[in-house]
Symmetry: D2
Subunit: 309 residues, 4 copies
């Protein structure tokens, strides 16, 4: 497997040039475009790493999976999905149109409107510190902190998210205050993780929510199923459908350059590569996963199983 991973990594490095670091938030623009790191952990205990897999970056949209997990756990599946849908939107992550035209729920929890709704549901129950602890646990990474510069930079550039949140409030979907919901959401996005943290979280999902370290269940089995399905259909912004065809792994990306992928019942993959494609996904990360999926038959509808030899 090391050979194939190395091959994929090289293929990923080659496309970095075609992407761009996110600049819509100044602080994100400071990332080093050429950074690239990967970490794969398998359920049978193998670990493969390469490049900047221990470099910290902000988790951004990948936190949407963590918030959704906590929200279902705390408020229940029915409550959560009475406020946010499960349909892929075909829209970019920050669309207002779909929200206003339909005059009902956010399409799904993986776009900003949906994640703001999830955050709003958590507000009465969880402080950001609680959520940080939860994140440390599911990522098995005690060193996660909030990046204050990114947080402040995002809050200064939050007009569009505020617009979305107030629209949600006007429709009765956000109930616990726009400011508190937006603050929790933005802090969640500003947590600093590594490719390894993401691999750990992905591995937890691959293992049905049971920690591979101590065999304790951290997330209910049914909720893990929901998370993986929604990652598969909605996790890669408006490129989710094509990614599902080409890679076929439940995944979630963030504009900080993070990307996590779940090889169900097999392994967790975390990648850091801040050069993004036009849809906001790590361009090298997507390439690496496409090559890995093809070479190692990782696609969920592939003929054979993952070969970890």
């Amino acid at each position: 497997m090391a050979g194939k991973m190395n091959e994929a990594f090289i293929a990923g490095r080659e496309v970095i040039e075609q992407g761009e670091v996110a600049t819509y938030i100044p602080e994100l623009g400071k990332a080093n475009k050429n950074d690239l790191g990967i970490c794969i952990k398998t359920l049978d205990g193998k670990v493969f790493t390469e490049g900047d897999y221990q470099k910290r970056f902000t988790i951004q949209s990948i936190s949407k999976v963590i918030s959704l997990s906590a929200a279902i756990q705390i408020c229940g599946y029915d409550k959560v999905f009475s406020k946010v849908g499960m349909e892929p939107s075909g829209e970019s992550f920050n669309s207002l149109v779909e929200l206003d035209l339909r005059k009902n729920l956010p399409f799904n929890p993986m776009i900003n409107s949906g994640a703001l709704t999830t955050a709003s549901l958590l507000v009465p129950y969880m402080t950001f510190e609680d959520m940080l602890d939860y994140t440390k646990k599911v990522c098995m990474d005690e060193d996660i902190t909030m990046n204050d510069e990114v947080y402040r930079s995002e809050m200064k550039n939050s007009s569009r998210n505020r617009a979305i949140a107030y629209l949600l409030e006007s429709k009765g979907i956000i109930e616990n205050g726009v400011d508190r919901s937006l603050m929790l959401y933005t802090k969640m996005c500003s947590m600093s993780v590594t490719a390894e943290s993401l691999a750990n979280f992905a591995l937890l999902l691959a293992n049905d929510g049971v920690s591979p370290v101590d065999n304790k269940r951290l997330i209910d089995s049914r909720n893990v199923q929901v998370l993986k399905t929604i990652m598969l259909t909605c996790g890669m912004y408006d490129g989710s459908g094509e990614f599902a065809v080409k890679v076929g792994l439940p995944s979630k990306s963030g504009v900080g350059g993070g990307l996590m992928s779940v090889c169900d019942k097999e392994a967790g993959i975390g990648i850091y590569g801040p050069s993004l494609d036009g849809k906001g996904n790590s361009i090298a990360g997507c390439k690496i996963l496409e090559v890995l999926s093809n070479k190692m038959d990782l696609h969920l509808f592939s003929r054979t199983k993952m070969d970890t030899e």
Copy 2:
């Protein structure tokens, strides 16, 4: 398994009353709302049937999977997906808005605009008779014919599909004539199948495109992977995301009441139940699959495997 299937069948029958037979085409309105049939075939040779599983009905949108299969085979993956996307649309099956606003490709081949495009690609290579033969083969059903009453009824009520097709032509997506494309598309929709035909086709897909009867490959492995992924993300109209969460099986429905589901590497399921829910999916069929998926752990992200004992 027979006990669980029976249980699911009963649960399905109970919700028939909450749905409605399609009426937007007069001929479809003649269906018997209370009809319900199911056929499950497993790769290890078991067959389970119940109710009206041999009753014929028109295949409608399920033909979109067959046309896509033929189009990829004949024109190639790259050509097909230069004309139609792979993204779930979150829109109803016959939306014009998404198509016009974006001024580019149909979202995916499972909505009308995408399927009209697929049909248009096939026009230079395949007559309807060719497509009928292809359908008989993949459904392992020699008795499939075109229902002429339904075909004529659909052509009389085809204004919206014509609008979509002319819009596609104006954008240079449909190149081989609106009339010929629409005619091929509508004839494909008017083919008469049974729940068993659909189970056979689903079984073929579950078996990676290799006929379980004679072990001959009918569809390329990679194409089968594409078909199953697109069915999973886009197969159930604008309820695809929720269906993926709740059932977790690549499926395709038609407004004629048909529904096919693939239990990958395990089994094929065909259902006939013409009472439809608000999104155009067989209401009893969806219920049956939900119950079966829960009771038998069929969800693609379920912990365990299908239990066919």
Copy 3:
């Protein structure tokens, strides 16, 4: 003329029942649905009044004309119309869709997005007290005050306007702070006027911006022309086109029940009737104007002139 006006007034009263008092802001819901008043003042000094023409109500959207007038005067025509368009939108007054889809300017200054932009332009130059003074002047009404209950009620229900304002800020259209812009806008909407105040303002516009009392010019001639044209094409929400056909007078309505109409070079009309039609216009007011326009040939493309005998 008194006879015709009386006839129109009766026709107006008859349709009150078919409308509804605005309820989206609780404070507005307290209006007496059956109130109806009218005031007409002609340039040759005649005054006709009937009903509750001295009853105070909040000016609401009619303030958009006053803000636009001040903004053009202070910031200049070019600056104002670099931030807001002049096109009728065919959309309801509080649409976000048109704004987000086009990703450019608000359609026109008579819808909320446009008026929030106008308010934002005024923020650096005018306090609300300044604007109140300006309003008193153009309405020749020293008794106008801000209705504090309505103001607070609107601010409590301002989520949608906040969403619009933040969206505008995210596009760089609102530059002077959402809070300050929204506050000025909402205070302007909460000013208490009478049908007579509105008739005075309409008369000022009919007289090319020159006060008929002391012959002093209050608004530049060219600006008056702009205001009247925009009132004609955009003044009656998404019923502006039909109103222009049927009545043919530059007019502006507010959800508080106010309605002002300009008979160019002839007269000003102010109406108060809080029962609204489906588009947010005073239902009795529209009826009165339609009857008056027909009976007295007030339509700007009518064959003959106004007969004030």
Copy 4:
């Protein structure tokens, strides 16, 4: 007046370079971009002409006014406006989005969807020859014929209009056959007129529908009022609002380069200038009218009257 007209003409000529001849229909692309002609006729019998005012070109969208006139005359105001609205759309002339989203009527008779509806209403009553006769009469021009090359060229490029028409049929708005409606509509667009023909038609509208030649009434007074109002609010595609502010004359343009303007109770103006601005209006024509309107106080809300000395 001749001096001012000359000045305006020169100003118009100067902006020709900034526009482009329409090319979406090949035959229209053959026009000579530098052609420019104007004809003004006043009710007191004065005639001013300059440049290519006798050159023939296809009337295109200006025929929408003629069709609307005939449709109201024949089918009645109520019938026509039960099938098409009166609201400016803020959309480009060939938008499908507004039509599909709202699922009701075309916005107004000056955009393609509305004019196809008008044509459809005329189909049972009027052949194209009848409409040609009607056009000759209202334009006082016996030499108008259909340009067969343009007609064929348009029919070959009619996919988008067909899409619109079938969408209208699917909504029950077009009832008399898409083909017949589209054919009548396209033939109407292909009629060859001159700037003088358009000036004659505009003069007829300025004179309340009464022929200034023989004093016979050709169009009912009320219908003329409707036509002029709709031209004012909707006549210049999605630039109608700005044109109303800047020029303030009921006008209608066509992509063939024609432009007609009504100085109510004063004069009719016809212009030919095939170089178009981004919205499809004659760029020189708009400039000429803007200069004329300013210099001669033609704006409907200008302080003074037209000075024809």
